[in-house]
């Protein structure tokens, strides 16, 4: 077996994207956002994370990426019998980057061809299994995002920073709003999403009941 590390060194790219604008972090003062506003912000956050552009790769321990959303018709596992394995990037079987090429630079043209596999400047992979969102309710996702055990050890500002950091590397977050082809982008905008995460956190990370 070849090492996972080798693959990572191979496919990590230097990123110097310029064409697509990243979001900026403007942390609201604590207490400046009401619970009600926080809940409304979270609802928008949930619309984003449950959108196919995000949730298709935030799947569970079966390590199956999903195909769902308007560009796919029926919801089903990724075609071609793909299983990303415990590595979450297909090292055990077919590495995701066989088709989902790791770009040197993520630009507006990077995913121009309809029905071609999407690409980013980070090696294509599923999100860590703790981040399983596919098919989960708003309450479940909210509990996950509030729990450092299941959100990568981050507080709410950390979550927003994570988004901006990923986008800054031309990664999946940036792709979610610039998916190219005939794919529907995630709702709102990257900046709105970052602002909503921050507003939700500033309101004390309130979670919906269901």
């Amino acid at each position: 077996m070849r090492s996972f590390a080798l693959l990572l060194t191979l496919s990590f790219a230097t990123v110097a994207f310029a064409e697509i604008e990243n979001a900026v972090i403007d942390v609201p003062e604590e207490g400046s956002v009401t619970t009600e506003e926080g809940l409304a912000a979270f609802q928008r956050v949930y619309e984003v994370v449950s959108h196919p552009r995000c949730s298709n790769c935030h799947t569970g321990a079966d390590n199956l990426p999903m195909w769902s959303g308007p560009s796919f018709g029926q919801t089903r596992p990724h075609g071609m019998n793909i299983n990303a394995g415990e590595s979450r990037m297909g090292v055990e079987t077919l590495v995701c980057s066989t088709c989902h090429i790791t770009l040197q630079e993520f630009t507006e043209d990077s995913n121009a061809i309809a029905h071609a596999p999407p690409m980013t400047a980070l090696p294509w992979q599923l999100a860590p299994v703790e981040f399983e969102w596919f098919g989960r309710s708003a309450a479940e996702v909210c509990a996950q995002l509030s729990d450092p055990e299941r959100n990568g050890g981050r507080d709410w500002v950390g979550l927003a920073e994570h988004l901006v950091d990923d986008a800054g590397h031309g990664g999946f977050v940036l792709w979610g709003w610039n998916p190219g082809g005939t794919r529907e982008p995630a709702p709102y905008s990257l900046q709105q999403h970052v602002d909503d995460v921050l507003a939700w956190g500033a309101a004390g990370s309130p979670c919906p009941d269901e």
Binding site: M1, R2, L7, L10, S11, A13, G79, M80, N81, I82, N83, V91, T93, L94, V95, S97, T98, C99, H100, I101, T102, L103, Q104, D109, I113, A114, H115, A116, P117, M119
Partner: protein, 152 residues
């Protein structure tokens, strides 16, 4: 643009977004990798980059990092790779157009997993389309190649 293919370095004057497949086929006349779909649906264009299978129709030359091996570099009629020997032994090909890609993908599979089960084969080869339907023979040939490589 510089690239190394099958151990030979080449200089090509192309746009950075030209897919590797078309650099190989139309600039360097290396025609073993085939054009079938242009969207990573068929796998006929599969090559290795530093040993890993990659769909060359998706890899823009500007994103290439590493050395390229095509079917021509895997083995030749006079010096066959174990996978190619097995492909001949099992008379796998019908039209043969997808087989460059199938063989390159199978070689990558065996490098990672020297004794694949049928399920392992199905998990890796699912991205390579064969319109003639040679799948039963592909499975058998991969098992043969695995045995051959074990002996070697």
């Amino acid at each position: 643009m510089r690239l190394t293919v099958n151990g030979t370095e080449h200089e090509v004057d192309v746009e950075p977004d030209m897919p590797l497949l078309w650099v190989l086929r139309d600039e360097l006349n290396i025609t073993g990798p085939k054009y079938g779909c242009g969207i990573a649906q068929c796998g006929a264009c599969t090559v290795h980059v530093d040993g890993f299978a990659v769909r060359s129709c998706q890899l823009a030359i500007g994103d290439l990092v590493g050395e390229v091996t095509t079917i021509e570099g895997l083995g030749t009629p006079d010096n066959l790779h174990a996978v190619q020997q097995a492909w001949i032994e099992h008379q796998v090909a019908q039209c043969g157009y997808c087989q460059s890609g199938q063989i390159m993908q199978a070689a990558d599979l065996l490098a990672a997993n020297p004794q694949p089960s049928d399920a392992d084969i199905d998990a890796v080869m699912g991205g390579n389309l064969c319109r003639c339907g040679t799948y039963p023979r592909i499975r058998a040939a991969i098992h043969s190649a695995a045995a051959r490589l074990q002996e070697a």
